[in-house]
């Protein structure tokens, strides 16, 4: 990766400019991110160790780190559920998206651009509408359950909605384009001649895939799994619409603590824990997968 980076820097001619121009270009955007991304995160960190000052909605700083313990112990189940659901949904999305991206990159011919647009097109119908549509398609009044019950694949008591199955498939569905696009981008860069060369050297289809295609597409796999896993782990909409109370994820708890219980400090502590857990996982994963430059 480092070698590729070195070449690209040279051939794209980055200017070694000692003037202030690059900093002038950066300043507005980076100041904006400092004010409205970094500073709020600090404010959230401060909030997480505050305690109620008696009045509703008023908190004072008391450095009560036990907020974290309270918050974590109160929602261990939802915490682990978030990570388990997000992991399964990410693997599911990878399994669905990889052949899809492969087909677009190598088999679509002049339809390539149209198919790429179609991958993102569902985004434009509100994701809430689509999630609710799934609820109705899989629900008690919907066609799927009637057919499945009619041919006795599932018993009349079994439901498809309000299950962990519905939440996980909902998550996989929602973030599928985030998985497909990076996979496509890395597959598209593969020179088809390398695959032909592998075939010429008597590798069969599976060996070619395992030894050539898959390793070359790893940057896409890493980027796609991250872009799916991160929002999935923090999501609470799928659990709220497609799940039952026993499928609640960490996002549901944070949402409820902010808006229903109005307990900002523990909500902040939970948000912080979620962010820290995701960042640690992401760092370990990127190290293991061996791709440094993602952005």
């Amino acid at each position: 990766m480092a070698a590729i980076k070195g070449i690209s820097v040279k051939s794209f001619g980055l200017k070694d400019n000692r003037s202030a121009l690059p900093y002038l270009l950066l300043a507005p955007g980076l100041i904006y991110l400092a004010l409205f991304f970094v500073y709020p995160i600090i404010a959230l960190g401060q909030m997480s160790t505050k305690t109620s000052s008696g009045e509703i909605g008023q908190y004072e700083q008391s450095f009560r780190f036990a907020n974290y313990v309270d918050a974590f112990l109160g929602s261990k189940e939802q915490f682990s559920r978030s990570f388990i659901y997000a992991t399964i949904a990410t693997l599911l999305a990878l399994a669905i998206a990889y052949p899809l991206a492969y087909a677009i990159a190598f088999k679509s011919g002049k339809w390539k651009n149209v198919l790429l647009v179609l991958i993102v097109a569902p985004f434009f119908t509100s994701f809430l509408l689509r999630t609710i549509a799934w609820k109705q398609i899989l629900g008690e009044e919907g066609p799927v359950i009637k057919v499945l019950r009619g041919v006795h694949i599932i018993s009349p008591q079994t439901s498809l909605t309000a299950t962990s199955f519905a939440v996980v498939t909902g998550l996989a569905y929602n973030f599928l384009p985030f998985m497909t696009l990076p996979l496509y981008a890395s597959l598209e860069r593969i020179d088809p001649r390398t695959l032909e060369a592998s075939g010429d050297l008597y590798a069969n289809v599976f060996t070619t895939f395992r030894k050539v295609t898959l390793p070359l597409s790893m940057p896409g796999v890493v980027a796609g799994t991250l872009l799916t896993f991160i929002p999935a782990a923090g999501d609470y909409i799928n659990a709220a619409i497609l799940g039952s109370p026993s499928n609640k994820m960490l996002g549901n708890v944070i949402d409820a603590r902010f808006f229903k219980i109005v307990d900002y400090p523990t909500a902040a502590a939970l948000s912080f824990t979620l962010m820290a857990a995701i960042l640690i996982l992401v760092t370990v994963y990127i190290r293991k997968a061996g791709t440094e430059e993602l952005v």
Binding site: G13, D16, A103, L118, I119, T131, A133, W134, L279, V295
Partner: protein
């Protein structure tokens, strides 16, 4: 039978892709189909075909006000995020400077932070400062999470340019500004357009961050979420389907335009 298996093994990946796209579009078709449903208050069961929802998309109370807010927030956020993000993308794509990796990290982090954390942290800051959630805090939040996506999209476009085109302009005695104006910017423009479209769709569809920071202001996704409890009016399906077709037309028109331009060159 043998023929069929041979055809299948040859076209397996295409069949699979077809199934994948079908899966992706089932809820879109469903939403479209139920926009013609002659439903009462809740749009759950098919009750017969009607055009009345399409003739009167604002028929459900508050739905067009919510849509208007979403469009307003989306447009303003898109313009601001596209400007800020494009400037950063040019700095990263064109110059070597100290603090490059810190900048990259600062761009990456908002994308690696779950929406609920972004929403919660901004709300905490606004409350600390005594700012009431509403339209302006929502726009501030949307610009924030769109910037990173703009930077990544535009930077990729800048990186894919052939540097010889700019060198050629310089060889022909264009100064740095002329080169930028006449060569670089037109070449990067499709990337900027794609970034703006992406920003708008992210902003328009956002629920979680909006829900934290919008207070009493209703956006279209907020309207849908609140309505879901008592049954979504079919007009929501009309608006969702219209957005889908409008976006598709914009993208296809852009594609035709760039094809024409390529043909000219």
């Amino acid at each position: 039978m043998k023929k069929l298996t041979r055809w299948l093994s040859k076209n397996l990946i295409k069949v699979y892709a077809f199934l994948g796209f079908t899966y992706l579009f089932i809820p879109v078709f469903y939403t479209f189909a139920f926009s013609f449903n002659d439903s009462g208050r809740s749009n759950l069961v098919w009750k017969g075909f009607t055009l009345k929802n399409w003739k009167n998309p604002c028929g459900a109370p508050d739905i067009c006000m919510a849509l208007g807010n979403s469009l307003k927030i989306g447009l303003i956020s898109t313009i601001l995020a596209t400007i800020l993000g494009t400037l950063i993308a040019f700095a990263l794509g064109r110059y070597k400077f100290a603090g490059r990796s810190t900048t990259n990290l600062l761009i990456f982090l908002p994308m690696a932070t779950p929406e609920i954390v972004l929403g919660a942290s901004l709300l905490t800051m606004f409350l600390n400062l005594g700012i009431t959630p509403g339209l302006v805090p929502t726009i501030i939040a949307h610009v924030m999470f769109c910037i990173s996506f703009v930077v990544v999209t535009v930077k990729a476009r800048i990186a894919s340019l052939d540097p010889r085109l700019e060198q050629a302009a310089m060889d022909l005695y264009a100064n740095e500004w002329q080169t930028f104006r006449r060569v670089t910017l037109p070449l990067v423009a499709p990337g900027i357009a794609a970034a703006a479209l992406l920003s708008f769709s992210l902003s328009f569809d956002d629920f979680i961050i909006t829900n934290f920071n919008s207070g009493t202001v209703t956006t279209f996704p907020k309207f849908v979420y609140t309505a879901a409890a008592r049954g979504i009016p079919a007009q929501a399906n009309v608006i969702g389907s219209s957005m889908f077709f409008i976006a598709l037309i914009v993208v296809i028109a852009g594609q035709i335009l760039s094809n024409k331009r390529k043909a000219k060159i």
